[in-house]
Amino acid sequence: MEKEFYIGYLPEAPAAHKKWVKKFLGILIIAILLLAGLLTFGQGMISKGIFNFGKTSELEGYLRMYPVPHLKVYNDKGIYGENLYKTVILTGAFKFGAEEIVKEIFEKNNKDLNDTGFYCQLNGTLIYNDGKALFELTDGADAYLKTLDIPDNILNDTLSNQAMIDGFNPYRLETTLKGEIIDPKCYFGAMKPGSGKVHKSCAIRCISGGIPPVLKVSSESTNQYYILFGEDKKSVSSDILDYIAEPVEITGRFEALDDWFVLYIDPEKAIRKL
């Protein structure tokens, strides 16, 4: 009777092969461990940004629409006893901005978007790193908890009370800065990496989805962050999509917004690729 047509290799490998395979496996295992190590260390730095994913918290402060939806939050006393505030940038869920949600909250409170805002408590997820914070509002309904009276320590703070009022500042200085346009939600915590080439298309998605564009200007020791905004309260997001996550030079007039800067630009002429 004819043997079965032999399939594949022998059921039992010849002794010489077995020996060789054992040696090969030994080398392979060492190589696997070595490469796992090298590829881990080769990653360089991973951003320390934190996104409290799945953990919501409550945050109260002055809710304002311009230049970007944000909550101005009391942080600490300064050296002259003045109040120090943080501007916490608000974002929507995933790759969306908070504009729609904040608009709804304004409507609910019968406030005009151009108003200086009002004091309220919001619910969301904190994102923070490098001294800056963002707050992801999960959903229109859940995000808004209640409107509050302005606390006394803020109301009575004569030194920095003025900062609560969004007055037009005629003294904005013109400046030219070199840096990279990032989307702050990913950069400060939601994603690793949250900037650079790898993250470029995500940043384009986020910024076109309404997350405010921020110019990161790095010096040797620190980074400074400039929220990009148009003159006349106009967003520049759709005009700058081509320049994201690349070295660029931007000219505009800047002013401080608590711990951030705002750079007011004319997107037609302000940006140049380096």
Partner: protein, 343 residues
């Protein structure tokens, strides 16, 4: 060249092969994840998944590409070759996890369909450094998908081995795409040169081994064509089963000696497809049929039946007094040699 497609079946060796492969995959994943969570406690699960599977997939691809030429130099390495498809299919699944997670992470949850976003978010198609590297990975994944999907012998027959082989040669296209996927992606974000050096080392090894194997093949052929040798005694005619072969090795040459229709023919033992052992094959429909994936060759000239064009070296055979003699110097690939009559 179809003879049914049930050639590949499970056997203990294959099970062992797969178990070892799964073990190695797990070892790498565990080591990578453990080291990362220790070194970078801030790393997120998505990034960890994307990076662990991405790096694992490209490592596996290097192994897949290197064991082919390796087997030319180290005959024992053929044992790694014969079940290489499982390695390839596993590699596809691992890189699919990487690709899908990347698409969700970088393109999902936005104001555009993630697949559309993959192609339209970064539009720097005319720039080298800014090129949208993810689509390189995407096209590599598409190639790997077609290779994995057609890896079963059913497709080898359905598509004809020639088309099948052409499709599977696309692995080199995929490899090139992936080199640039990494070069224009992750490596542009890293300040350290380590990743770049590893990638360079990997691609030099792959290219170098292929070039060396090519040179070796050519040299061997030239060597065998020059000399005209003596006939060597192989075995008795009745030691070979009908329609089967016996393996004869002589000075590093492996020759398959076939008995069929009261005739004896000798061809190279090495299948042109993936180096399967032709001496373990069988004559089906008058053709020597490789046990691995069913490629066929005519015993009297080592050529695949038309329209196929593969050719393997043939050897002169003589039969006297029930003994088989073979001239271990080949007459060349596809050279017609009259079979030796047994009676």
């Amino acid at each position: 060249m179809s003879v049914g497609y049930k050639f590949i079946d499970w056997n203990p060796q294959k099970k062992k092969y797969d178990a070892v492969m799964a073990g190695c995959i797990l070892l790498y994943l565990l080591a990578f994840i453990l080291l990362n969570t220790m070194m970078f406690p801030e790393i997120t699960a998505e990034t960890l998944i994307i990076r662990a599977t991405g790096t694992l997939a490209i490592l596996m691809l290097h192994v897949i590409l290197i064991i082919g030429p390796l087997a030319r130099f180290v005959p024992e390495a053929k044992i790694l070759l014969y079940n290489r498809r499982h390695l390839g299919v596993s590699m596809f699944f691992i890189s699919a996890i990487h690709g899908i997670f990347s698409i969700i992470q970088y393109h999902g949850g936005g104001n555009e369909n993630p697949i559309v976003s993959l192609f339209t978010s970064n539009m720097d198609y005319f720039s080298f450094v800014e090129f949208p590297f993810m689509i390189l990975g995407f096209f590599a994944l598409v190639i790997l998908f077609f290779m994995a999907a057609t890896s079963h012998d059913f497709w080898l027959n359905k598509l004809s081995p020639k088309t099948w082989k052409r499709l599977h040669m696309m692995v080199y296209v995929a490899y090139t795409l992936l080199i640039f996927h990494v070069l224009l992606g992750t490596l542009q974000n890293e300040k350290s040169l380590l990743g770049f050096l590893l990638l360079l080392l990997g691609s030099i090894t792959v290219c170098g081994m292929h070039i060396m194997a090519g040179i070796k093949n050519r040299k061997e052929e030239q060597l065998f064509f020059k000399k005209s040798g003596e006939f060597e005694l192989v075995c008795r005619v009745d030691e070979i089963e009908n329609n089967r072969a016996k393996l004869f090795t002589f000075k590093g040459k492996s020759i398959a000696i076939y008995k069929y229709d009261d005739k004896i023919s000798a061809v190279d033992n090495y299948c042109k497809h993936q180096g399967g052992p032709l001496s373990e094959g069988k004559i089906i429909d008058g053709c020597i049929t490789c046990p691995w994936h069913g490629w066929q060759y005519l015993p009297e000239n080592g050529q695949s039946p038309p329209p196929f064009q593969e050719k393997i070296p043939t050897y002169e055979v003589r039969v006297t007094k029930g003994l088989v003699y073979v001239n271990p110097i080949s007459k060349g690939e596809g050279a017609a040699i009259k079979a030796a009559q047994i009676n």
